[in-house]
């Protein structure tokens, strides 16, 4: 039976703990702390070249993340081989430059590959790189799920998985957002590709296609 004294003592303890916790968080700066937790930094481990198997695992992640978009929204949408035919070179170069140029990346890539292979083995695949793209996507979503809250949760429980999301998955998606996403939307080329000074004064390629499909549309209005 809970006595009145125990109840009061418990309430006081809880109140004190809550006040202390809030005070502590406020003193340390709650928001910066949350940001640091959701975005843990990299170690100072030495940069260096990527071994071939490691590179293969990373590119398998790139392929898994990109294949769906390339196959469903991109210019190759009618090509059944699209998933295997996108250009991985810019991604390979990005990963190489980080591994060789910035402390902590190569070490994190190794840990990412080990974790991905472990999960692939648990799912019955010989390795992450050898798993089918759909399984790879599922494994990635499970290993480092999207979303700010998910990353905060990972930051609290398993900081490496938050790093995988931040420094592997999100950086691959960031490069896609700056490049392939624009051609997927119908732009002739992404920013960074010299496009000359004539094309932009004419209708965009996607519009030209739409206009030619409609043929009799005098206003050229297309959806």
């Amino acid at each position: 039976m809970i006595t009145r004294r125990k109840l009061l003592l418990g309430a006081a303890t809880l109140t004190g703990a809550a006040a202390g916790g809030v005070g502590l968080l406020r003193a340390r700066g709650l928001l910066p702390w949350l940001r640091r937790t959701a975005s843990p930094g990299l170690s100072n481990a030495a940069p260096g070249p990527l071994a071939a198997p490691l590179r293969e695992t990373l590119l398998a992640a790139v392929e898994a993340l990109l294949a769906a978009a390339e196959a469903t929204a991109g210019p190759l949408k009618d090509d059944p081989q699209a998933a295997a035919s996108f250009d991985a070179r810019p991604y390979a170069e990005m990963l190489r430059s980080r591994a060789e140029g910035i402390a902590g990346y190569r070490q994190l890539y190794r840990r990412f590959a080990a974790a991905a292979d472990r999960r692939a083995a648990e799912a019955g695949a010989p390795s992450f790189a050898a798993a089918p793209p759909a399984l790879r996507r599922r494994l990635l979503a499970d290993l480092c799920p999207p979303g700010r809250l998910a990353r905060l949760r990972l930051g609290l429980t398993d900081a490496d998985r938050a790093r995988f999301r931040l420094y592997v998955v999100q950086e691959i998606l960031d490069l896609y957002a700056a490049t392939g996403a624009w051609t997927a939307l119908g732009y002739a080329a992404p920013p960074g590709v010299p496009r000359g000074l004539d094309a932009y004064t004419g209708p965009p390629p996607a519009r030209r296609a739409a206009v030619s499909e409609r043929r009799g549309d005098a206003n050229g209005a297309a959806g």
């Binding site: 700010r148 997927a184 960074g192 965009p204 996607a206």
Partner: protein, 530 residues
């Protein structure tokens, strides 16, 4: 010992150093940031191809920084760049002449102060500034442009297809849209390659978008200009007679502090850092900072206020296929209500309403899209509306006032010197201006037949990196810091140039006016030296 010591290697410092070198004057240029390769191929590769999180040529820590209070939300520290070439190493390169009315806001509209010079005084210098930067433009489609005695050096970049689509609709409602003069090469110009439309102009890999390094390298090549990068200027030195005698400088890394003697000192560190340097530089007779006997240094700080809006169309317009600037409107620079509120430039360029960098959060950012995406298909889906949106930015005049000022703050740089602190808050004039922008926005929305429209709230404004007025020009010392040539009142041999000397914000992008004023100052300075 040098004849002239220039503080800062940005577009203004470079214009002055280059002009002086052409006249045979020996110049030392001090830049606290590192050298910045030109053309910016390396930066292009890092920024565009590798998207590196740790780019080279980042500004050194503990050198720049600006404290902030009031209601300005963007990071002012990010608006002060410390690299060779300064902010103009990464600028948008819009180059417009300030209309005559902007020099006389007190007498014309009853607010602010009149400048101690007028458009006619500056007109020839505008022409020289345009030639220096290789400005491409035309006034043929802009009935609101001020008169000019020289043609644009290069033909204009034409409107984009979606600009013309929009212009047709706006014209029906009496709304004008015209091309934008800009320091980009329409054709090969002065040793610079013609623009190839890479579309990432902040790191233009071929020098088509003007960067100050173009002329700084040439000035150094004359042998009359010495560039000292990674060297901080901590004080302007003034002798007992009240004349500038040089600078106190210190290498940013290691090395001893030293005095650098000079006959003339020109401060061109941007409006924030220039005012800070004057405030730090106390001397007998100048207890509150050199040039500050009347208390004007930092007091008349003013930004342009940029409010972002965007219009959504049922049609996919595919804006942003040109990296430079296309459409805008000067139709509302001098509206009937000017004086009660500011004049407004309307930016209607063919750009994506989705930036890779946002100074203030108005709508979803690229970072948020990527954070929430499971894979690339999610990214593409989130971006799918982009071809339907076009941005409309209101670039508004502001008025200096008691709620806007720069002082020395409590935070310190790596040498222990106080950093600048800016207090900035909107006043009634600014809120009236925002209300006027809202009226304009609704006119544009209705005329264009937009299916949806969004506009930032009044508090979500940013400066466009246009900082002005901290060392404003005036005819008399009682009213400002420098005269119309940039000579600091009461301190012989000390000059200030750049946005700091503006007597009001004006209505258009300030850089061409800064360069025109700088060339005018350089001619006077060369005469003084001679």
């Amino acid at each position: 010992m040098s004849r002239v010591a220039v503080v800062g290697s940005g577009i203004v410092g470079t214009a002055i150093a280059h002009a002086l070198a052409e006249r045979g004057v020996e110049v030392d240029v001090f830049e606290k940031g590192p050298a910045y390769p030109y053309p910016h191929e390396a930066q292009f590769r890092q920024h565009v191809e590798l998207r590196t999180p740790r780019p080279l040529y980042a500004r050194p820590s503990g050198l720049c920084g600006v404290g902030r209070s009031g209601d300005y939300r963007a990071d002012l520290g990010a608006e002060v760049d410390c690299v060779e070439g300064g902010m103009a190493s990464r600028w948008e390169a819009i180059c417009q002449r300030q209309p005559a009315a902007d020099f006389a806001t007190r007498s014309r509209f009853g607010h602010g102060v009149d400048w101690p010079l007028g458009y006619a005084d500056l007109e020839p210098w505008y022409g020289r500034a345009e030639a220096l930067l290789g400005v491409a433009g035309t006034d043929a489609d802009n009935p609101f442009a001020p008169p000019r005695s020289t043609p644009f050096p290069q033909s204009a970049f034409p409107l984009a297809w979606d600009d013309r689509w929009l212009a047709e609709r706006l014209a029906g409602a009496g709304l004008h849209l015209h091309t934008t003069p800009q320091a980009r090469t329409r054709e090969p110009w002065d040793g610079r390659a013609a623009c190839a439309n890479f579309g990432v102009c902040a790191v233009c890999p071929i020098g088509a978008r003007y960067s100050p390094q173009h002329h700084l390298r040439r000035a150094v090549a004359t042998g009359r200009v010495r560039l000292h990068t990674d060297t901080a200027v901590r004080r302007v030195l003034v002798d007992a007679a009240g004349r500038a005698r040089g600078l106190l400088v210190r290498p940013v890394a290691d090395g001893a502090e030293r005095e650098h003697a000079a006959d003339h000192v020109v401060v061109t560190g941007g409006a924030l850092e220039s005012a800070r340097l004057l405030l730090l530089s106390t001397a007998p007779g100048h207890p509150d900072g050199v040039g500050n006997r009347a208390g004007h240094v930092g007091r008349h700080l003013v930004f342009h206020h940029l409010w972002l809006g965007r219009l959504r169309f049922r049609e996919a317009l595919y804006p942003g296929r040109f990296g430079g600037w296309t459409g805008q409107s000067h139709q509302f620079l001098e509206p009937p209500g000017r004086g009660r509120h500011g004049g407004v430039k309307v930016e209607l360029s063919s750009r994506r309403a989705y930036a890779t960098w946002e100074p203030v959060r108005v709508w979803e950012t690229p970072g948020e899209v990527i954070t929430e995406a499971a894979d690339a298909a999610d990214v593409a889906a989130a971006l799918a509306p982009v071809p339907h949106w076009r941005p409309v930015t209101f670039h508004a005049e502001a008025a200096a006032g008691p709620g806007k000022r720069l002082v020395l703050g409590d935070e310190r740089d790596r040498f222990g010197d106080p950093l600048a602190h800016v207090h900035y808050e909107l006043d009634d004039f600014d809120r009236e201006t925002y209300a006027y922008c809202g009226e304009l926005f609704r006119r544009y929305r209705d005329a264009a037949g937009a299916a949806a429209a969004e506009m930032a709230d009044a508090g979500t404004y940013y400066s466009g990196f246009h900082h002005m007025g901290t060392c404003r020009m005036s005819a008399a010392e009682a009213d400002g810091v420098v005269d119309s040539l940039g000579r600091v009142h009461g301190v012989a041999g000390l000059w200030v140039a750049g946005g700091a000397v503006f007597a009001g914000s004006g209505t258009v992008n300030p850089t061409l006016t800064m360069v025109a004023l700088a060339l005018r100052s350089a001619a006077a300075l060369a005469a003084d030296v001679a």
